[in-house]
């Protein structure tokens, strides 16, 4: 099996190689890139990095920024990932409004980053458990690449990899790019571990 493939790729690089890749690597071109964003600076940095290093070289690719919104019908609301606030029923409406406002801001910031680089992007907001919602969105959109910040959407300060990023790295139906924060790119200068 292996020798055949090796021989084939050297004989007809264009034709056979492309056929082989379509079956396993999911397509010969990168046409749709999905970037998960939240309110963190890190996810914006992930978006910028992806735009500068990957999307730039695929001018035909379409970009979708996805924001996962926590379901608004809960009476318990996660606060800064280390606490839970109980929301009395009377305050649910205003919670919803605040949440929608936050979502709007997150999406607007992300689209602005794209616009700064002359990249046209669409936005999608998904509700529910972030990791499952994004996973499903990626599948439905037939994404060719998913981009995340390394803390993902969990914002847990001490972990180097958020649980959402970890989940998506293994369960997403397409390749996943995990972008490290700028400090990590400084190649060994005071990387906090």
């Amino acid at each position: 099996m292996e020798p055949e493939r090796a021989v084939a790729s050297s004989v007809t690089p264009g034709g056979v190689g492309a056929e082989a890749s379509r079956g396993t690597a999911g397509g010969a071109t990168m046409t749709k890139v999905v970037v998960a964003v939240d309110a963190s600076e890190e996810s914006l940095h992930a978006l910028s990095w992806a735009l500068d290093h990957v999307v730039r070289h695929h001018p035909g690719a379409s970009l979708v920024v996805v924001h996962a919104q926590h379901p608004a019908d809960h009476f318990v609301y996660p606060v800064a990932a280390h606490g839970l606030a109980y929301i009395p029923p009377t305050a649910v409406e205003s919670m919803k409004k605040t949440q929608e406002e936050n979502t709007r801001k997150v999406v607007a910031r992300a689209l602005e980053v794209c616009a700064q680089r002359q990249v046209v992007a669409k936005a999608a907001v998904v509700e529910g458990d972030p990791k499952e919602a994004i996973c499903q969105a990626v599948e439905e959109m037939h994404a060719d690449l998913l981009v995340l910040g390394s803390r993902g959407l969990g914002m847990i300060k001490r972990a180097l990899l958020g649980s959402v990023s970890d989940y998506l790295a293994h369960h997403a139906s397409c390749p996943v790019l995990i972008v490290k924060p700028p400090k990590a790119h400084a190649k060994g200068t005071g990387n906090s571990t």
């Binding site: 292996e2 493939r5 090796a6 790729s9 050297s10 690089p13 190689g17 082989a20 890749s21 396993t24 690597a25 999911g26 010969a28 071109t29 990168m30 990095w49 500068d52 290093h53 990957v54 730039r56 070289h57 695929h58 599948e139 037939h142 060719d144 690449l145 390394s150 180097l160 990899l161 990023s165 970890d166 790295a169 293994h170 997403a172 139906s173 397409c174 390749p175 996943v176 790019l177 995990i178 972008v179 490290k180 990590a184 790119h185 400084a186 190649k187 060994g188 200068t189 005071g190 990387n191």
Partner: protein
Amino acid sequence: MAETNAAPAPAAAAAEEEDCSSRKMVVVVGVDDSDHSYSALEWAVRHVAAAADAELVVVHGKPSASSVVTFGSPGAGDVVRFVEADLRKRAEDVVDKARRLCIANSVHGLIEVIEDEPRYVLCNAVEKHGADLLVVGSHGYGAIKRAFLGSVSDYCTHHALCSVMIVKQNKPKK
């Protein structure tokens, strides 16, 4: 580790900040002798290295005979020789396939084989070459298998100093 890199690092970091557009991206891809790893390399070569005209470094962590064979019997010495020869042959096959793939896609790639555990080999290669991106395949193990067998992609995602791309073999699209 930090000390030896201290001198070139600030210059490299400064260069990276300003020269992002003109400096070539450095991409390290980890390969072993599995099919999914080859697919990951294919994906990286096609969509990243070729598209971005990046500098590609293909790194293979060759297992050593001692990590595969445990000594315990009188005939162990001979076994080690055979195992060593087999491992070397496999590493050569990996290198060969990688080289052909690069040629087929008109990508210039540096191919390295280092004898050590893959996780360390990949993270060290990232540091050594000042990589912007590390690409690894994924076995697609479940959480329990990953806990027992260890996962190179997990380790690299946590410890590599650059962004990491995990390329799985796709499930068939609906």
